[in-house]
Point group: C2
Chain length 491, copies 2
């Protein structure tokens, strides 16, 4: 193989890290916990952005941009919000450097100290609601449906590429509504948009549900989340949508005159999805050969590789390859023709497998003679030789099949690794030895949740929307419970 | 009028500020010097981004993302770079807040002090070249053609919406090349891309040229810029492209093995364009009625306004309007149908004029009867009544004409306000009393440039590429000069 990849079954964590580095997605920077997203990784993010942005606009949202900095005092305005974020903030205290008088380079100029420190946004509710205060007067100004694409910073102590980084890229929607009902409806609408995106673009089956109080967003009345299962049996939350009630409206005094002339506090939601979901994309589908990208989010959907011994052969292959490339591109398919002479075909095959390109086309001199091409699909590694004239239809079908197949595979994996458990011993055993999603009864208290976490490192990932009412006993305390909730270890 | 706008000729600065606020483009935030870009302003930025991003990709560039934070020590590595940026840096010194023990909210936790302070990027050469060090080994790794869309922070003391803000959005290209020639070629290519964008999309005629040494980017060997003339006679730089030589390669020790096996330092360029250009867009075209947006960058190209007295009339108008809207949209034209009943047509007319929407269509009951519509173009305010069946062709033609007309108008303005001056008195008189671009001889010294700036506030905006060789005497010192350079007061 071109680049050595740790075996997934031997060391999952190392396999993941190897893959991110070797597929050229991202790397750690010199700044603690901050990553550099390399062009190939960023191209996936651009696809994610373009897709989601269309979905947000189709549901009536517009984009805007709010400041990176949040005055320290804003944080204290919503009590739970500050509790949740104060411990992981990057804080700007000065605004000038100067020459170090002892001759050792430059130093922070102590005379350029800010009167009030500024926090780099870990999330933007406070700065945004402070703006909304001036934008909202009457029910006519509502709803306000705004999204922001931005970088945010949370000073994480233990970081991993894409999954948990000090700085990350995301989108954060912040909406304002006249009624509780509308805000709840929006919260639901957006978790459904995320689930739609996860399942139909990322090919990632997800469980939609409520977060338990312990796991709620700091400042939310209710948090909805989508939870996906990774191949190592851990859960990964890929998007959240929060019903914020009137908490931020009260903290920032945002009131409006309703249709009857009465002054009311505004109802809020916020929802976000980040570069973290690239981590989910990798961990859900990739194998020992490398990434397996869903065609709808793959920066390169088809790679064409010439197989030749001399310049003459290359020339005639290039003619065919260019024609095929332009035919495919006319059909909206992104294609790369890799005719670099610095690497052998075998090296290229491995490299594009590593990079998860869904379809590979190889063309040799005999193919040119016979008017054929060889296709290989990344998900099953199956090869086929077909008539060149059939290329467009065949590739379209392959892309469609791959998209469906990896979703099906992930769905089966999830089904096979979701356990309905009623005994604590079994719960512990599965968590320790098999992993996966456990559907179990819970007494509804934070204390029990905390104890289960201490003993097994498993947490309540969500209370699934579709979990039916069912009499049962808490897996840990035996106290009565009305429905099962979803437990797992998680990223 | 719906919203009062200061007269442009009475108080240009106030007119500009009014316009930005009242057209709902942006507003100042509570954080000193930071703006909130509101949805309508951000939609213009999205158009700019989409257009430029295509142009960058068509010239072989890819996007990536580098950290927001730069270790303080990186700055000192390139001597001129630190000199240029050290005085306007936001500096992160701590990473945690805690409860203030005296009970006054929260405070910075003194125990969470960073060992090395982090600078919020004012530009990313240093952090990027530190990454390139690991990416470049051989000539095969070159050229590296990378762009980044990001936010940056420069602690400006005097800020103005869009034109100069503490935080702003921009793109920064950073390329690495094997030879000086290739890097110079890239520097030229990108200033040409910017000029193409300015003239053909922003409808903004520009002068391309070199910066004098005083005005060069901190760390560059050569800076190319495009300079546009605003309606108040001041210049505004809307994009720059820097030839960085081997300065950053040497500072970060980035060497490669060339084809002959020799170790060489890498050659670099960087180039950027920011949200500042929205300021240029406004100041170049807008009038006392409001914005005049070039159709190619207008978020809404056509607005349809119904004129009605009762629900029955509105219904039949809506039928027509919706048909027209979908016909136009099928032709790739963005259309808003504003049937809000909260505002009168006259108010809407003014409001969309204020917002610079290129074409307005009004439809009344008589229009429905006669199968006509009324169009109004924003640039000339001319109205026409046409057969509804001709709408698509007519609107297409109007959009095309408006785009060309505002470019022509701006070009004429620039021509009329470019002065070839040989006497100092005249120079001072024009700068003081008329404004505009002055083409004058200069002795080539920074000292003279500095004195001219002190006496007139005019600086050398650029040394135009197309300024012919011509014997002359410096406008200020009378010393010999070989070509004219472009002077102006500027933003």
């Amino acid at each position: 193989m071109a680049k050595y990849l740790t075996n997934r079954d031997e060391n999952y964590a190392q396999w993941y890290n190897d893959l991110v580095i070797k597929a050229d997605l991202a790397e750690n920077s010199v700044v603690r916990g901050c990553m550099v997203i390399k062009p190939y990784g960023y191209a996936i993010w651009e696809k994610i952005q373009a897709t989601l942005d269309k979905m947000f606009k189709a549901t009536g949202h517009v984009n805007a941009y709010f400041p990176l900095f949040i005055p320290k005092s804003f944080f204290s305005k919503e009590a739970k919000h500050v509790e949740g974020f104060a411990k992981e903030c990057a804080i700007v205290t000065h605004y000038r450097l100067k020459n170090d008088e002892t001759g050792n380079g430059i130093m922070v100029d102590p005379s350029a100290k800010l009167e009030e420190e500024l926090i780099i946004r870990p999330t933007s509710e406070t700065i945004i609601w402070n703006s909304y205060k001036n934008w909202i007067r009457s029910y006519r100004d509502l709803p306000l449906l705004i999204n922001q694409w931005a970088n945010v910073v949370r000073w994480e102590m233990r970081t991993r590429l894409f999954l948990r980084t000090t700085e990350f890229l995301w989108q954060e929607g912040h909406t304002a509504h006249a009624t509780r009902e509308e805000a709840v409806e929006e919260t639901e609408r957006m978790i459904n948009v995320y689930a739609d995106f996860a399942e139909n673009y990322m090919a990632l089956p997800v469980v939609k549900g409520y977060k338990s109080e312990n796991e709620r967003f700091a400042g939310a009345i209710d948090t909805y989340a989508i939870e996906a299962l990774m191949q190592d049996g851990k859960g990964l939350q890929t998007g959240t949508s929060h019903f914020l009630g009137q908490n931020f409206a009260k903290a920032f005094d945002v009131q409006f005159t309703d249709k009857t002339g009465k002054l009311e506090y505004v109802w809020a939601t916020s929802w976000g999805l980040s570069t973290r979901c690239i981590g989910a994309l990798i961990m859900a589908h990739a194998d020992n050969h490398g990434l397996v990208l869903p065609p709808l989010l793959a920066p390169i959907q088809v790679v064409i590789i010439p197989i030749y011994k001399n310049a003459e052969q290359l020339n005639s292959i290039t003619d065919t390859a260019k024609r095929i490339k332009s035919d495919l591109e006319e059909n909206g398919i992104s294609v790369k023709y890799d005719d670099r002479d610095t690497n052998k075909p075998g090296w290229k095959f491995s490299d594009y497998e590593l990079k998860g390109v869904p379809v590979r086309i190889a063309i040799g001199p005999r193919d040119v003679e016979n008017n054929t091409i060889e296709t290989a699909r990344r998900d099953t590694l199956e090869k086929e030789t077909i008539q060149a004239s059939r290329t467009v239809d065949h590739v379209k079908r392959l892309l469609d099949e791959i998209q469906k197949n990896i979703f099906r595979k992930a769905s089966e994996f999830k089904k096979e690794n979701t356990w309905y458990v009623d005994k604590w011993d079994e719960f512990v055993d599965i968590i320790e030895n098999r992993g996966g999603f456990i559907m179990a009864h819970w007494d509804g208290t934070g204390a029990t949740e905390e104890k289960i976490k201490e003993e097994t490192k498993a947490t309540i990932r969500c209370i699934p929307f579709n979990s039916p009412e069912e009499d049962g006993k808490c897996i840990y305390t035996g106290k009565p419970s009305a429905r099962r909730v979803l437990f797992a270890r998680s990223y």
